[in-house]
Amino acid sequence: MKALLEEQILLFDGGMGTMLQQRGLEAGALPELLNLERPEVVTSIHAEYVRAGADIITANTFQAHELKLEGHSVEEAARAGVACARASGARYVALDMGPLGQLLEPMGTLGFARACEVYKRLAVAGADAGADLIVIETIFDLYEAKAAILAAKENTSLPVFCTMTFQEDGRTFVGCDPTTAAITLQGLGVDALGVNCSLGPAQLRPVVEEMLRRATVPVMVQANAGLPRGENGKTVYDVGPGEFAREILEMVDRGVRIVGGCCGTTPEYIRLLREGIRGRRPVRTAPVPVTACTSGSRTVILGGGVTVIGERLNPTGKKKLKQALRDGDMGYVIDEAIAQAEAGSDVLDVNVGLPEIDEPAVLCRAIREVQGVVSLPLQIDSADPAAIEAGVRCYNGKPVINSVNGKREVMEKIFPIAKKYGALVIGLTLDEEGIPPTAAGRFEIARRIRDTAVSYGIPEQDLLIDCLVLTASAQQEQVIETLRAIKLVKARLGLKTTLGVSNVSFGLPRRELLNATFLAAALGAGLDAPILNPLSAHYNQVLDAFRVLDGEDRDSRAFIAKYAEAAAPAEGPRPAGELSLREIILQGRREQAADKVRALLQSETALGIIDREFIPALDIVGGRFEKGEIFLPQLMQSAQAVQNGFEVIKAHMESAGEQRRPRGRVLMATVYGDIHDIGKNIVRMILENYGYEVVDLGKDVPVQTVVDTIRRQGIRLAGLSALMTTTVESMRDTIAAVRAAGLECSFFVGGAVLNEEYTRFVGADYYAKDAMESVAIANRFFHQ
């Protein structure tokens, strides 16, 4: 197949759904069942496409997976599907794998590992049935494409083609652009990539051209016959076979190598394509090699400007992050990720390495949570190859691996992972002998890393070299060697470089001054991607200035916008304010709460502030809310003011070595199957305001997780939320399971569909109609 692609344009078939509907298939029925029930109809459609000249017939297995099929096994449906295609006289038969029909985490609830399993079963069934290749198509989530590709490549030896579906705005439904798709898919080792369905050929042209600029593997296009519209209750398409063929053949002349049709196309469309292809040979394209990493919706291409890698998601030297990781509290991780993204990072490093945790599992969880809120590509950072592989696998996109070095053993472990998942890799210029003292020595290691990577089939542009910084206080003469090594690597190997900057100042005063100066020098030497703290003002000033000097900040626009008005202090000290803490809370002035609490701590104890300020103010706010004098956002602004004050109190008690005694511990969870957690989050905040410790298990929480947590942590009061009538069942199951486990825990429940009646139905003890009621329940439970 691969050899064939070098020599000729391959022609797929056209629409199956269209043809089935012409033969009376009902909309919404599962067409895959026809492979078993009416094989002769399916085969006759395939045969029409064979007669029209298609090289490859797509078996009718688009949704022949276990999430959709009922009454028949995946194996039966796939076997019958491949057999129908084979019986048509097809030259090649492709097993078709479409989307699973459910969104993957973090957008949805379907787990990545589960998606891989579902695809695996279909891929294996198709291969066993004798398919010649696998085509993964109509995908709009890159993550789902990854699951399907891994399933196909890990469990079969068939060629894998993957096409995605795009909208008029040039993106998929979940925001993936053609460059991101092309770079990520070819990294995963597909044999062809491209676009199908979506739109008519004319509207797809920009998408296809963008892919042709990026793709190093053949590009494939299966467009719709234009745009659909309803006509007398039937769906019709507005591009005829002649126009369709003209448009597609133009794409062939620009380098597309595999063509066919999707919705609305018929054998006539394919026949005209066949006529046009005759006499045409594959046109070579010239994609420019780039060093790029991606997330599910964004690509960062290194070079042509500074790429900032945020370093703060790393527990080394960070007590709070360590504690959060040990507790499994991802809130802290998420906050750091958002803060770094807002501060202008291009890529975020993620490291969760702590001796006492299950690093692969925690790393995957951190990656999932961060990818749920930040669209930047991530750099997966660990000393443990197992954690690296787990992280790279569950990641959505083409990540950066941090790192390998010149040690043979390390390269042998990491390069196969980088190759398989198409990751960028950072190579540190050290080896068994340590860090060479000279630039030439580090350059030699960089070259060795490059050569070894290439021997694993990793494209050399997928390497980033880190020439390593030593501290100026201990090895002053070495600092300049780092800069020299960067120049050598850039000039002689043409590779991109990265560098952790802050080490240089270790052991000296005014570290930020040294760091900023060194950053400027390293950028001057050609550093592409500094790893640094993006929240540091000193770094940002250097970056802003450098971007003017190297021409990246065109006409200094960003610089002027940021600094021209700096004369007026943007973040100057706020007026001290005459408001009391209570008034600040009542008015919901959350930006003033922290300062006020700090001031009060001079004369008042932490507990005193909680008991005499926070709680009475909250009681007033709560009372007003109950009476309808204020509405939800106003209640929440007051609660956020208290929350900000609480942060100060917590830090104060920690530094004073005081132990905070919570008023009680409450478990909270949005039940299994439900993902509506805003209500739960509001309740959590208000409970915390009142001094309760909340163990928040998040949303879509499996029953067993609730049972285990209650048992392990000795929880006596738990709050569950559910929004849907369907998930109220899950609430009942959760409570029943806890009771069956013999645990003494009381439950309060809430959520849009809940009421007193449902509360009895699910077996809960209390019904909380809103957040204030939850507090009242907790107060009664723990203090009466």
């Binding site: 009902e26 919404g28 949805g108 979940v174 958002i338 939800l632 439900d674 009538t725 369907t726």
Partner: protein, 227 residues
């Protein structure tokens, strides 16, 4: 926009309390931010209505909708319009992103999204009424799975007949939650002129009457009493 803002405030439980200008401004910003982020898409189709023993069958499909309420809604109709609207994954992402750093903003954005998706449904409803007009028919109101005795279990079938995953990226979880979250599916009946039910939306016909937050809060007229 003023009407839209009123609706957003209504979803946030606003009952004519004093509204400080800063909060009102935040609501306006959130509306703009949400609309800029959202990728609204919709799809609708007409089907002949075929009442059967088991329920209302949509002609040319395998979908049969069970229950007394949908029979009342569509039973006498000539055709049914099936519609789906979504704000797309980006709206969800925006709400989720603020959940972590500013919960109030997240809640306001959530209400903005609810309002926006309703507004889009109103737009689709208008298109359908125009189409009905062309066919010499008139339409009743929108009715969604989860109302009355039309179960949420109907959701996958409705998405199926619209090919909604392919057309607008709308899917449904194993627990029958629509994803992206800010999405609606609904059914309207198309009747010979003069035969469409009034389309009145009072509490009597509303399936949410038992759990309606407005009624729980002592507004006997439900959401209508605040309009």
């Amino acid at each position: 926009m003023e009407q839209a803002k009123k609706e957003v405030l209504r979803y946030l439980g606003y009952r004519h309390q004093a509204l400080e200008p800063a909060l009102e401004r935040t609501v306006e910003q959130c509306m703009a931010e949400l609309r800029a982020a959202a990728g609204p898409r919709r799809v609708w189709r007409l089907f002949p209505v075929e009442p059967q023993e088991a329920g209302i069958r949509l002609g040319g499909t395998a979908l049969v909708l069970g229950g007394g309420d949908i029979r009342r809604h569509l039973g006498a109709a000539e055709m049914a319009a099936v519609l789906a609207v979504t704000l797309g994954a980006a709206a969800d992402a925006l709400i989720r992103r603020w959940e972590h750093t500013d919960l109030t903003r997240s809640v306001i954005l959530d209400a903005c999204a609810t309002q926006y998706v309703e507004e889009l449904c109103d737009g689709v409803e208008r298109e359908i009424r125009e189409e009905a007009q062309k066919l010499g028919l008139e339409a009743n109101s929108r009715y969604s799975p989860g109302y009355g005795d039309l179960p949420l279990e109907a959701q996958p079938g409705i998405l199926g007949v619209l090919d909604a995953a392919r057309r607008i990226g709308l899917t449904c979880t194993g627990s029958l939650i629509l994803l992206p979250r800010k999405s609606v599916t609904a059914l309207m009946g198309l009747f010979p002129k003069g035969e469409a039910a009034s389309g009145g939306r009072g509490c009597e016909g509303c399936a949410l009457r038992e759990t309606c937050q407005f009624r729980k809060d002592g507004e006997p007229g439900g959401c209508e009493s605040l309009a």
